[in-house]
């Protein structure tokens, strides 16, 4: 299957009908844990595959950043899903989602320490050994920072990518969120990341609440994030951009407008 290209959208059962109707769509992402390793695929996905739309499995619960070794059954599931969707790559996060027997229910940040780099690289290597395709790693948005970071974000991410040989899934909204919440310059981070390693980029909406910018995926994409898409593309345009929406789905016309705005910001053809 072909690599991600152009503007895509996160496939979710709730918007399967909308996604199926997008005439120019060449690329979607699907939450890997929501796809069965065997048995029938969700019907909307089968149709997309028949149209030769690229489907990238996106894991959210591997916990690659966990101090414990990654669960082999979760890796095997991701590998099986990649195989059956004929995916050109899979993606997961630089994060942990469980520890000490407790599920966090969300992606949590790692300390930017040598110890954490070692842990995540070991887990990525374990996953790579079983996966049939390359993996792209996505840095997350986090409200909390660990108190004893040894590396800045660019060095932390670059070291992980260099040591694992993984691709980068750059989430533009996460870059915005982290910069906004830490009082940092998002462009300074873009300038220091290995943008030539970006397999595709995520874009999502968020909202200000309680003094923080929350990367909610349930709100519209704010202008600042679209501007950052433009800034990224001016430096190095990624092969593809993907809109993530995970709830409070707007009317189809609004979602189409967001996809069109994304295409315009990046200079990609509209998919609507």
């Amino acid at each position: 299957m072909t690599d991600p290209s152009g503007v895509g959208i996160g496939w979710r059962p709730e918007i399967a009908g909308f996604v199926a109707e997008l005439p120019g769509l060449r690329f979607v992402e699907v939450v890997a844990e929501g796809v069965p390793a065997s048995g029938p695929l969700p019907p909307g996905l089968t149709q997309l595959r028949e149209r030769a739309v690229t489907v990238v499995p996106h894991g959210v619960r591997l916990s690659l950043g966990g101090a414990e070794p990654v669960d082999p059954t979760r890796v095997a599931h991701l590998a099986a899903v990649a195989q059956r969707l004929d995916a050109p790559l899979v993606s997961e996060h630089i994060a942990f989602v469980r520890a000490g027997g407790l599920e966090a229910g969300h992606l949590l940040p790692l300390p930017r320490s040598r110890e954490a780099v070692d842990a995540v690289c070991a887990n990525v290597a374990r996953a790579q050994a079983e996966l049939p395709v390359p993996i792209a790693l996505e840095p997350i948005a986090a409200l909390v920072d660990w108190p004893d970071d040894e590396l800045d974000e660019a060095d932390f991410l670059t070291e992980i990518l260099d040591r694992t040989g993984a691709l980068l899934l750059l989430d533009v909204a996460n870059v915005h969120a982290n910069a906004r919440n830490r009082g940092a310059d998002p462009l300074a981070l873009l300038d220091r990341l290995p943008l030539e390693r970006v397999a595709y980029a995520h874009v999502a909406g968020g909202a200000e609440r309680g003094g923080f910018y929350h990367d909610t995926h349930t709100d519209p994409v704010p202008p600042a994030v679209l501007e950052l898409v433009g800034a990224l593309c001016a430096r190095q345009r990624p092969p593809a951009l993907l809109l993530e929406r995970d709830g409070h789905y707007p009317p189809a016309a609004e979602l189409r407008t967001e996809l069109d705005a994304l295409a315009a910001a990046a200079g990609f053809p509209a998919v609507t």
């Binding site: 407790l102 300390p111 909390v144 920072d145 309680g210």
Partner: protein
């Protein structure tokens, strides 16, 4: 990060990554103490964001529970869930519905949803719910659902106004709904 032990004590090495990750998760989802060195504001904001996300996930699995509580859903869920790590959205909603039922605080539509689930699946409160193989009756808040061969029928809806048990509850068996759960 932590004060060095005084006197003759052997210095405790900094906890390893596994232990520190476990401390952070416990602080966020299980009411554990804040891990040393973390700023309280971002920690509280993260805890609140996790609860909001979890409430949304549970509402998708238990739409009538969330709708029945209306504007009070977020607060009710957050109050119940703040110190309880998730057992998955299905079980979280189930445990909350049972807790509200025990307090007689379960709205009628949510009682019907619970009765239907109780008839369809066996849930011991500890392990993942499993389909019932034998015919079963589920009851909650005056609602009664029966399951035969995997199909669940709401035999009697929950009363919409507070009544004493068994008093003035209409028997809606004749117009019962088939609920596809």
């Amino acid at each position: 990060m932590t004060a060095a032990p005084a006197g003759d004590h052997v210095p405790t090495p900094r906890a390893g990554l596994a232990e520190r990750q476990a401390e952070l998760v416990a602080a966020l989802v299980a009411g554990g103490p804040p891990p040393p060195g973390f700023a309280p504001g971002p920690l509280a904001a993260t805890r609140a964001a996790l609860l909001r996300k979890r409430a949304g996930d549970v509402a998708r699995h238990w739409p009538l529970l969330a709708a029945g509580l209306g504007a009070g859903w977020s607060t009710t869920f957050a109050g119940w869930a703040a110190r309880r790590p998730t057992a998955g959205s299905l079980r979280d909603g189930w445990d909350l519905a049972r807790a509200l039922h025990a307090e007689r605080a379960l709205p009628p539509a949510a009682a019907e949803e619970l009765a239907v689930r109780e008839a369809r699946l066996r849930y011991d409160g500890l392990r993942a719910p499993r389909p019932r193989r034998l015919p079963a009756v589920g009851r909650a808040g005056g609602a009664v659902a029966v399951q035969i061969a995997g199909r669940v029928r709401l035999l009697r809806p929950a009363p919409r106004v507070p009544t004493l048990a068994g008093e003035g509850v209409p028997d809606a068996a004749g117009s019962a709904l088939w609920i596809s759960d």
